[in-house]
Assembly symmetry: C2
DNA sequence: CGCCGGATTGACTGAATTCAACCGTCGTGG
DNA sequence: CCACGACGGTTGAATTCAGTCAATCCGGCG
């Protein structure tokens, strides 16, 4: 694959959206080839971020949106009492920065959880392009809509699920996302700490640890440090869907 | 005011967006007069909804977005175990249905909490118009961005606030929204039940009731049935901001 | 007048947080 | 190369906040 031609120097590499394996997950989802070319025209590639490096910071002006090409990113904002609230974890193909579209400045801070390469979409140019390319405009709107839907799914979770169900949901969701990206849905590495998971799910990190142990004792999964194997996905799913709702799939 | 000329038959009345007192809160926020006229061209006015009537239902195709002209609307979706999760309460000037933009069908169900008059924006026409009117496109995007920000604020609340803080936040938020709309920020009527409030905040209705009592004993507020008077807004605010974060204001 | 739904209040229960000790791994520096 | 410290994770015990169950109240409506 083209994008592997220069693995040591990704920053100089122009991966075309058309060739990108993530196309179907990313903004270009349903663009016509010509529209895709236009979009590619504004994409910039930056030096990969190292673990812990900040992509953008809350309060900064909305200069650009960022698509993850590889790696993963944690998005969080300050909470009352000096704490933080993790708002989400983003994987390749996800688009970051949309939270800033309302106020023209980021409301969250985005940090790389591992070495992460990014495609940058300068916002002003993206907006101009949207005005010219109806398909892009539509896809962008759709993407925002899906973000809204995903956040609602999260609200639903925090609103009425117990610790056990939350962690099960979390694992299932991650599993699906990895699967969509061509990784194994049954064996993957968590790029975030227990602390981050707990914070994201509205739980104490000890609770996360205990629930992991609980799932493991039950034989549903194995966990070793950051490595998770899922043995009985259906068992986890049964936990989540007492009666059932179709999940508003993950997005951005 | 024009919109009061025919109070018994609002459905036949065309309230122009330009004359609407809610203009600054609604989609037309920063449109040029000419853009405003174009937007007005697609707005349809429907018969007012009675309490309990459904505006749209989860799963229905996204035919239109709806702006509330007067009244209030509850938006909810089914939760696991046959329950419901209340996703939000909407006041005049708010735009509903954006959750459907991701999938082209509504993910929530919207129900009038009282007699409510609505402006309907057929989605196909709105999309076409956005393509033609850059200002509208920008405002619409901004609006979606603000919805994302508001949902994040809600996630933050459900993620790490205690019952007391949640209800205080809720009251402060309502107070601000009423204020923006020209109503008293210190005395207003709740159009939703304790059950709805609790569900929305991720609390049992009894907890809501108790926290109301608690605030009342402390002298911060008075509650009688659905009528709330706030005596010490600052006390409520102090509860919410241990250290402080600026709230991502309410929206859609 | 009596019923019904919404709201309040109380007692009890339990799930999850908090506090605390402990373990294992990794990275650093002697 | 090994020792040490730091960090992340696990585990246990005690506490607490909020949920559940249940009785009662209140106002509105038939």
């Amino acid at each position: 694959m083209l994008q592997n031609a220069d693995p040591l120097n990704l920053c100089l590499l122009k991966v075309s959206c058309a060739d990108c394996t993530l196309r179907e997950l990313c903004l270009p989802r349903r663009l016509e080839p010509i529209e895709l070319t236009q979009l590619e025209g504004i994409v910039r590639h930056r030096r990969p971020l190292q673990r812990g490096e900040v992509l953008y910071r809350r309060g900064e002006p909305l200069r650009a949106l960022y698509a993850i090409h590889s790696g993963s990113v944690k998005v969080h904002m300050p909470a009352s009492g000096g704490g933080e609230q993790v708002m989400g974890f983003h994987l390749p193909g996800n688009l970051l920065g949309l939270d800033g579209c309302g106020t023209d400045s980021y409301t969250c801070t985005a940090i790389a959880l591992e070495t992460t390469s990014i495609c940058e979409l300068p916002y002003a140019r993206l907006e101009s392009l949207c005005a010219l390319v109806p398909g892009l405009n539509r896809e962008f709107r759709r993407l925002m809509g899906r973000v809204i839907g995903a956040e609602q799914a999260m609200l639903l979770m925090l609103g009425n699920k117990k610790a056990e169900e939350r962690l099960a949901s979390f694992l299932i969701h991650l599993s699906r996302r990895y699967c969509e990206r061509g990784f194994s849905p049954l064996r993957f590495n968590l790029s975030m700490s227990r602390h981050d998971i707990g914070n994201y799910l509205g739980l104490a990190l000890e609770t996360v640890s205990r629930q992991f142990a609980h799932f493991q004792e039950a034989g549903w999964i194995s966990v070793d440090r950051r490595e998770v194997s899922i043995h009985q996905l259906d068992a986890l799913e049964k936990l989540v869907t007492h009666t059932l709702e179709e999940e508003t799939g993950n997005i951005a």
